[in-house]
Subunit: 225 residues, 2 copies
DNA sequence: GTCTATAACGCGATAGAC
DNA sequence: GTCTATCGCGTTATAGAC
């Protein structure tokens, strides 16, 4: 069964993966399931998500998801790590691109910052990535997820401090903008874009340069419960 | 049974309310339960929280919580509204205080901003307030909670724009700092404060002026699952 | 590598007494 | 205003076949 078979209401829609019917390697399946997990955890949160919905979105059976990852908790940890690694990889690529192709109009730091901000927004193409990260950050009280999320958050902080070379204040500002972007995506403010002038203004203020792209990629009114 | 009876591990600790044994007015009970709900929803999230734990934290029976609020969903909406109203009330008080008692060292806008930021941090005394708000903001896909959270977010935005008089860029920066503060509280970064120099630095950078107060109020290692 | 069947449990909500 | 008892469903995880 492909994920398209449940594209109707109530389900988190995930990019269709061609269902060739053939058995995949354990590794291919893991990637497929991780993608589905990001979408489902992102839309419903850790507790709200079910392994069954992840399984259906990935086109496998529920027990098989548990089998491959051991437990729902482990699946979330894997999804979190995946999201974080993708994010930092994108940041590093943006930083390298800024160094390789400097903008004569901007200072080095400004140019890198702009590219990194764009890279973060562009990650909306990975469905549920921002929201899963944000959900993890909110579970600091969880005995297993809490420490893992703190370590992940620290990885991002170190990127800004050590790799990008910002001071504490600059790094904090980047983190803050990132949290706001994640919040706006999780809130699905895009659903109200255009209907309320205040909200429209807020949205434009958050995504100044990438607005057309964001409006195009962020699906409105889907991912509903 | 007072909430102290379950102060042990696994439970969200809530300030003890004197258990006089007498029956309270429906209104008093509602307030008591709302306080418990903020703590539990904040620590566990909407789905992770149980009406039973809210009930135990408030010292009443589980069915009674459902009875008073109709449903868990309604309870969350009430808690969200309570959190938002408290927040905006605190912001308005801070703004008024800044106008009544101007700081000769700072511009009017700077002084008000500083006070409002402090007021937001000071709300950590209301256990779970920041986290419940943040959880609400992440549930944009929920058919009922999503729209309510968007309206709430817009209320805060309008405060900065209309009441405080900021431009879109300034308002966005305040919102961003607020999201970062909420995230740090939800992450319970305070748990690692002092153990990791990078984390300590990050934490100090977020709570520059109120650090002693924050460290004092934010309980470490409690609210565990 | 993947499924079906199912066990075991936790949760929200209702009924009804006091 | 508040409780106890309980129903019924949804969920994770396990067993075991193919």
């Amino acid at each position: 069964m492909t994920s398209a078979a449940l594209g109707g209401d109530g389900a988190v829609a995930v990019d269709e993966t061609p269902d060739t019917g053939r058995r995949l390697s354990s590794d291919e399946r893991r990637r497929q399931i991780l993608q589905a997990a990001l979408a489902v955890f992102g839309a419903r949160g850790y507790e709200g998500a079910t392994t069954d919905e992840v399984a259906r979105a990935a086109g496998v059976s529920q027990p098989y998801v548990v089998r491959l990852f051991g437990s729902k908790e482990n699946l979330f940890l894997a999804a979190l790590d995946d999201a974080l690694t993708r994010t930092l990889t994108a940041f590093r690529a943006a930083l390298a691109a800024a160094a390789a192709d400097p903008d004569p109009e901007l200072s080095e730091a400004k140019a890198a910052g702009k590219r990194i901000g764009q890279a973060f927004v562009d990650l909306i193409e990975v469905r549920g990535l921002h929201q899963t990260l944000a959900h993890g950050y909110l579970l600091g009280s969880h005995p297993v997820i809490g420490p893992a999320s703190r370590r992940g958050f620290a990885r991002v902080w170190r990127f800004f401090r050590d790799e990008m070379g910002l001071d504490a204040d600059g790094a904090r500002m980047f983190m803050a903008e990132g949290m706001l972007i994640s919040t706006m995506i999780g809130l699905r403010i895009v659903d109200d874009y255009g209907s309320d002038p205040q909200i429209t203004e807020l949205f434009r203020s958050c995504f100044p340069t990438e607005l057309p792209h964001v409006l195009d990629v962020l699906p409105r009114g889907t991912d509903r419960w």
